[in-house]
């Protein structure tokens, strides 16, 4: 499959670009690629916010935006105009340098992820040798941005919230990274394009494109998904935001377009983490007949990514928020040991001198064990919390009569 950049360079030569100016031709090609990708992301953000509003309002039995444009599609555009026209406030004692760089940095860190996302066969910004590791490294830019915003605002609540953001992002980075390495171990490369390619399923000569790693590594996928929810500060891990209670944490002092950039970074981040989930676990651009009709690749990829995004919004509409101690405990006492043992088990199993399908079966068994453990731990915890909170909020005189909620159906 031809790479998009090669195709574009060839097109320019065919249009009559002289061979001597190859550096200019390459420069133009990469500029076009970067320009399209970066601007598409910004337009995408408008669509993502609209999807979020629509999904949440349907869950809450409302209609959502429906005045501006078909199905209220242009509501977000109007909101963006409003944010642009707002007064740009800078607190008097804020630290100028970090206050102004932080919102830019938060968007840059998110946008850079686009470079290695394989939208289709041959449709990837740069197929780096270390693609997965690159995605992991980008997370640290977001952490720096949060720290700079929290400190630069010169507001003690913003600073405290910045510390909380860093604590959450650092804690959930570990299970997320290790879960991302499960497919890398399986394929033996960190190239995003090779990882997508490996998820094909041939039925004779026809590529059904259904060899998704989620069928083989459901445990790693579950851990990745939970950690990605935390990394993108989505419900149930949106305790940093807590829009109605904490007034948005570390970017409390930001207004107008600078606030909008944090907002944008958050929406794009949750979309891109979904895109990474699709590329690593949900088959990437693979799908039925994607090998025969290359145009289907990007369509499959975007469809899957939007599906994951809608699931994230569904979770946002239905889940309660966790407390900070619960969040930390779940990361360090449940996810990290589980994902470590999962990776260790996978490495040992893949080296066993057995036929390949038995190895794969053992990997699957280990993954299913992890899924069951995670669900068990969460279920038990929710049960205990339910009893505890019912006891805590019950009228004092009734404490002796409270029964634990053990329903006969045994949920």
């Amino acid at each position: 499959m031809m790479n998009w950049s090669d195709a574009l360079i060839q097109l320019q030569y065919n249009l009559g670009a002289p061979q001597e100016l190859s550096w200019l031709v390459e420069g133009i090609t990469y500029f076009i690629g970067a320009f399209v990708i970066a601007n598409a992301a910004l337009v995408l953000a408008l669509l993502l916010i609209w999807i979020t509003r629509k999904v949440i309002s349907r869950i809450q039995d409302r209609i959502g935006p429906n005045r501006l444009g078909p199905y209220g599609l242009f509501q977000t555009v109007a909101d963006a105009m409003k944010l642009l026209s707002k007064e740009d406030i800078k607190p008097k004692s804020a630290d100028t340098l970090s206050y102004f760089i932080a919102p830019i940095l938060s968007v840059v860190g998110v946008l850079m992820a686009l470079a290695v996302i394989p939208f289709g066969a041959g449709l990837i910004g740069a197929d780096l040798n270390v693609g997965v590791l690159y995605l992991v490294a980008l997370g640290s830019i977001g952490i720096m941005a949060a720290l700079m915003a929290g400190w630069g605002s010169n507001n003690k609540y913003a600073l405290l919230a910045g510390f909380r953001v860093v604590a959450q992002l650092l804690s959930y980075e570990i299970p997320m990274v290790l879960a991302m390495f499960a497919p890398v171990l399986l394929v033996g490369t960190m190239r995003m394009q090779a990882l997508s390619q490996a998820q094909s399923l041939y039925l004779g000569p026809i590529n059904l494109g259904l060899g998704w790693f989620v069928f083989l590594l459901p445990g790693a996928f579950l851990i990745y998904f939970i950690a990605a929810l935390a990394e993108s500060e989505q419900t149930p891990f949106d305790l940093l935001e807590a829009e109605s209670e904490l007034i948005a944490g570390f970017h409390i002092e930001y207004s107008g377009m600078k606030f909008a950039m944090f907002f944008l970074a958050q929406f794009l981040n949750s979309f891109f983490l979904g895109a990474i989930a699709v590329a690593l676990f949900l088959g990437g651009w693979q799908g039925p007949f994607a090998g025969q009709v290359p145009l289907l690749g990007p369509i499959y990829f975007l469809a899957k990514t939007f599906f994951v995004y809608i699931v994230i919004q569904w979770i946002k509409g239905t889940f309660p928020r966790v407390r900070i101690d619960q969040m930390m405990q779940f990361a360090w006492k449940v996810l990290v040991p589980l994902v470590l043992s999962l990776i260790l088990a996978q490495m040992i199993i893949m080296k066993l001198p057995l036929p390949e399908w038995i190895n794969m079966l053992l990997v699957l068994v280990a993954n299913i064990a992890v899924v069951i453990t995670v669900l068990n731990v969460m279920g038990n915890y929710f049960k205990r919390e339910q009893v505890r909170s019912k006891r805590a909020f019950a009228p004092k005189s009734l404490i002796g009569t409270m029964q634990p909620v053990n329903s006969p159906s045994g949920d």
Binding site: S98, I141, M144, L170
Partner: protein, 177 residues
Amino acid sequence: MPELPFPLPPLPTVAQVIFILIAVLAVVGSLMVVLARNLFHSALGLVAAFFGAAGVYIVAEAEFIGVSQVLVYVGAISTLITFAIMLTRGMMFGATSPRNRQSGTAAIITVLAFIVLAALLRAIPWPQVGEPITDGQAIIAGLGYAFVNQYVVPFLLLAMLLLVALAGAIMLARDRK
């Protein structure tokens, strides 16, 4: 076209322009580390310098080291430094002078170190890389093999060191009652 009296210097290639930009970032960041009046700005300059170093690695086609540089230095070490600065009383706000009584000595040592390094750079016949890395070649796999075969003892020692540091950090931060 009239003949020029002197030959024009050759235009820098794209790679050279990128290298110059990255070098400027690294140098400005490093200068900020030593010259900034605010300790937090010094830390930010350090982050910029780390990014510059990562960029140099990437220009040299050592993508793995470049990305690891960002991951380890920007992600972990500078976060640690920033936290240390933020949690140190009286250092967060207000200017600290970048100079002290030792600046004269430091300047002499720096110049000497620069001369030694520059001489080394010129004197040593650096090995030339033979083959450019082709697409699809798994360089990281080779690194992994080297870690568990040839260099297994240093690798395990490093792992032990990190484990001891982890246990020590937990011991220090533990709630003593």
